[in-house]
């Protein structure tokens, strides 16, 4: 089933960490397996990288702690070797890290080099994007990763009911559009031509970190951006290219977009004012941040909507 949510404040930063937590917690019944956030904080001078060195449910065998420590040291070494200046490394959990760094080179090269560390996955990379995802409901994940104080302009989130792939962090949404900075995707639905598109995109050199069909959307958007298409054009083209049922949301450094399939098979409720746009699979999620009677609409089939802040 899955629940997706998005929010964009067009009048400056707000408490999007707690807001997205409330939205996703209100839709816990749509997917209790894992919860993920793509949050846009205040853009700093450098980059923020979110990564994991193991999964939340990787078997904790005898060598686990030692391996993790080795991989953690390897991370420092590799970041130094490729020429990144590391400002700060913070551990949210024993396996998930937030790295503030400065780096002028190619982001793909940086990501590939870091992900070459065994079991490592770069969850997000950008000036302001931070993807946080883990097992459990929204409040559990928000508490674990300290999202209570996260301020920013826009965010998307996902409450996952796993249907097509494993329950782990790699299979959790949002997906970062590797290697493009500051782009992330959440999806509710099933893509039936996943394998076709995966082979096609792999031949073009893209990397996949999971068996989850939704990852295709992030990679697809990345490919279309590389071809020079705007976000809106890429999303419109995706309606032709993807088979199956879907409502998905994409965020970039300054925009939030949603697309619905031609059968309008997956729900989306939209609330729009000049200063705030909030959307979710259910209106209860929007009510979690706008606690009063409001006018909302359901976008129609094949609609693509994009808002900029």
């Amino acid at each position: 089933m899955c629940g997706i949510a998005g929010i964009i404040h067009r009048d400056g930063p707000a408490d999007i960490g707690p807001e997205m937590t409330r939205m996703l917690q209100a839709m816990k019944h749509r997917g209790p397996d894992s919860t993920g956030f793509a949050l846009y904080g205040q853009p700093g001078d450098g980059l923020v990288m979110r990564l994991k060195l193991a999964d939340a449910n990787t078997p904790r065998d005898f060598g686990f702690a030692e391996r993790l420590e080795q991989h953690r040291m390897e991370l420092d070494a590799r970041l130094g070797k490729i020429g990144a200046t590391v400002d700060r490394v913070e551990g949210a959990t024993e396996y998930a890290y937030r790295v503030r760094l400065s780096y002028d080179g190619d982001l793909k090269a940086l990501t590939d080099y870091v992900e070459d560390i065994p079991d490592c996955e770069v969850l997000s990379l950008g000036n302001s994007l931070e993807i946080v995802k883990d097992l459990g409901d929204a409040e559990t994940v928000a508490r674990q990763y300290g999202l209570e104080s996260f301020r920013g302009t826009h965010a998307i989130g996902h409450a996952r009911m796993a249907t097509e792939s494993d329950v782990d962090i790699s299979g959790a949404h949002p997906y970062w559009a590797y290697p493009f900075s500051d782009i992330a995707v959440v999806h509710n639905g099933q893509l039936t031509n996943y394998h076709q598109w995966r082979r096609r995109l792999e031949r073009l050199g893209h990397r996949f970190q999971s068996e989850c069909d939704s990852e295709i959307i992030a990679v697809y958007v990345a490919e279309k951006r590389a071809e020079g298409l705007s976000l809106e054009t890429a999303m419109k083209q995706s309606l032709e290219d993807f088979d199956g049922v879907f409502t998905y949301a994409v965020v970039t450094g300054d925009s939030l977009g949603v697309a619905k399939d031609e059968m309008a098979a997956k729900p989306l409720v939209l609330y729009e004012t000049p200063t705030l746009v909030a959307l979710a699979s259910e209106e209860v999620a929007i009510r979690a941040v706008v606690d009063r009677e409001i006018d909302t609409v359901d976008p129609y089939e094949s609609e693509v909507l994009v808002w900029s802040r």
Binding site: K28, A264, P267, E282, E301
Partner: protein
């Protein structure tokens, strides 16, 4: 049971996300004669429904006002007697399902599948409705003054659905009997695979579905449209077009008349 958040009075959920498996009616409604009203802001869907049942079935109340339904799901389902209900606010999904008899007003909007399998009564939604509005509707009048989503009246078996605004794709999909009045535009695939019934559209039709054809609008149709739209205060567009089943897919053979009777 798990407490969500630390504040007192917050909604609790079990592991499946269902609200309060063993709830009791809160009995907080203010009753005056055969009228009552209560605030649903702090109540779960289950407790709202239990309160409604307690009022209608045990307290002899026939007129209930519910404030702040807060877009919760499954509100007002399974009410099986004549009464007047007014909900001041919006619904989530599956509101007013399986009702038989009530006259209902919802001042806000409703989500997917409102009035699913409604048997009789009148429901007026003042704003928009989501997809699958009036799915498998059996009887009664369902009026949405705003716009509706996709597959309105899917599998409709009777009754009348009136839409003041636009309708999404495949309205009247597999419809078997009854009427739909869409004052605005209709999306693609109108009346796809319908068996019987009539769909009236005041605006543009994006495309017709399989085996849906235009029919002549007669005086009886005009009378029906005038009567229903006047009764519910919905603005009448200049002209209507009528769509019915083309009967090209009616491939019933002589061996199954009894089954056909059952289906229709």
């Amino acid at each position: 049971m798990e407490q969500v958040g630390g504040q007192a009075g917050r909604i609790t959920y079990d592991a499946r996300g269902l609200a309060e498996p063993d709830a009791e009616a809160p009995r907080t409604a203010k009753i005056e004669g055969d009228r009552a009203e209560f605030d649903a802001a702090e109540l779960t869907a289950r407790r709202i429904n239990l309160e409604l049942r307690w009022l209608l079935y045990e307290q002899g109340v026939h007129d209930v006002v519910v404030r702040n339904p807060g877009a919760k799901h499954s509100i007002g389902v399974g009410i099986l007697q004549r009464c007047t209900l007014r909900f001041e606010g919006s619904f989530g999904y599956f509101g007013l399902g399986l009702i038989d008899g009530p006259e209902v007003t919802v001042t806000g909007r409703v989500g997917w599948s409102v009035c699913e399998n409604m048997m009789s009564g009148v429901v007026v939604i003042e704003k928009n409705a989501g997809s699958l509005t009036g799915a498998a509707l059996r009887g009664g009048d369902l009026v949405v003054k705003g716009s509706v989503g996709a597959r309105t009246g899917i599998d409709q078996k009777g009754g009348t659905i009136v839409v003041g605004g636009d309708a999404g794709l495949m309205s009247g999909f597999m419809m078997q009997r009854g009427r739909q009045v869409i004052c605005g535009n209709a999306g693609p695939g109108l009346g796809d695979s319908m068996y019987s019934g009539s769909i009236y559209v005041g605006g543009k039709v994006a495309s017709l579905g399989v085996d849906c054809v235009e029919a002549e609008l007669g005086p009886a149709d005009e009378e029906l449209l005038d009567r229903k739209l006047t009764a519910y205060g919905v603005d009448r567009p200049g002209s209507f077009r009528k769509f019915v089943c083309g009967k090209k897919l009616w491939n019933y053979d002589s061996l199954e008349p009894s089954e056909r009777k059952l289906v229709l």
